[in-house]
């Protein structure tokens, strides 16, 4: 009986906060632009933030397109790496990397220094252009 009272007190003290599931890249995440475009590299007082994710649920993984707010303008971008662990045998990066893209799908920058995951090649979508300007693969 005493044991039961103890557990009920413990339950009352425990406070739960239900937050959303851990997600890779969603709205309001700050991202790192990894290509050599001028828009991505000129310093600004605010970091580039995601304002929309173009997927069915609002969660962006590698290969998904997002809309960024950079330097007060909107720009589409492609996610090339995130901090959240993904599938087994896929690389996990220490920063949420993103490559700027035009409306036509052409990359804005001309070179990418950061390693790009090779799983982009087998994914459904137009990734050959980004893979073509990448300098190293992971």
């Amino acid at each position: 009986m005493g044991f039961l009272i103890e557990t009920s007190i413990k339950v009352q003290q425990r406070t739960f906060r239900a937050s959303s599931a851990a997600a890779a890249i969603q709205k309001m995440t700050r991202v790192r632009v990894v290509d050599n475009s001028s828009l991505g590299n000129t310093p600004y007082h605010k970091a580039p933030r995601v304002i929309h994710v173009y997927t069915k649920n609002g969660i962006g993984k590698v290969g998904d397109k997002v809309l960024l707010a950079i330097k007060g303008q909107k720009k589409k971008a492609l996610i090339v790496g995130h901090k959240m662990p993904g599938d087994r045998m896929t690389p996990r990066f220490d920063s949420n990397n993103v490559v700027l893209i035009e409306e036509s799908g052409n990359p804005t920058g001309t070179r990418i220094r950061v390693p790009i995951p090779t799983q982009l090649r087998s994914m459904d979508g137009d990734y050959s252009k980004v893979l073509a300007i990448a300098s190293s693969f992971v």
Binding site: N36, N41, K83, P85, R92, S104, G105, N106, T110, R111, R113, T118, R121, D126, Y127, S128, K129, L131, A132, I133, S135, F137
Partner: protein
């Protein structure tokens, strides 16, 4: 396939394509009636009396016809086709068809073995967007004809882009660009001088921000 032996690879390719698509044409007089493909086609294409142009510019109608051809082929036709199909879709085939399409500045780069991306990177220019699209579609058409059942289909990436289209054929990747965008991106330079590329070295070094704190994240 005696008619195929003495021809140069380019025309051999076009002839085999013609054999497949045009059942009852003047090709009968050219081939001494021994073209097994044409014979097989003649038996079941009675309803198709119209002569298709040699290489049609509109792809939709022709590819529909090709698809129907695959569907309707009986076992004998398939056997004959496997015996008769000349080659796989190799680099030579691709280069030959690009030259046939009047591609400007064809550049083939052999990708080193360490980079497990593809074996060959090909960059071609065209006169206009329409030219690029035509080249890309023709390449896909030839690939569809020459591919085996276990090979995957290939799609054109960047169809709505005006200046840059890509096709990834497994072991080869082709980029169709306009000369202006080719100058901007300089893909051949990047893929030949991998880490010594000048655009890469001109990129400024990444500097950590002043308030950077390195915290080691322990993952589960």
């Amino acid at each position: 396939m005696n008619i195929f032996n003495n021809l140069k690879p380019l025309s051999r390719l076009s002839l085999s394509y013609v054999c497949r698509v045009l059942p009852k044409t003047r090709l009968q007089s050219l081939s001494t009636g021994k073209c097994n493909l044409c014979k097989a086609m003649r038996t079941w294409t009675q309803q198709r009396c119209s002569v298709f142009p040699f290489r049609p510019f509109s792809d939709s109608s022709d590819s529909n016809y090709l698809y129907k051809a695959y569907q309707k082929s009986d076992s004998s036709d398939r056997y004959i086709r496997e015996k008769g199909s000349p080659q796989d879709f190799t680099l030579d085939v691709l280069v030959a068809l690009l030259k046939q399409e009047n591609a400007l500045d064809l550049c083939v780069v052999k990708v080193p073995e360490q980079i497990s991306y593809a074996q060959y990177m090909i960059v071609v220019s065209g006169y206009s967007t329409r030219h690029l699209k035509a080249m890309a579609l023709y390449a896909i058409k030839v690939y569809k004809y020459l591919k085996k059942n276990h090979d995957a289909h290939v799609k054109i990436e960047g169809k709505n882009a005006e200046d840059w289209m890509c096709i990834d054929f497994g072991n080869m990747v082709v980029h169709f660009m306009l000369p202006e965008s080719r100058e901007v991106y300089e893909l051949e330079k990047l893929w030949t001088l991998r880490s010594y590329d000048e655009q890469l070295s001109n990129m400024p070094e990444e500097k950590l921000p002043e308030d950077f704190i390195f915290d080691l994240e322990v993952t589960k």
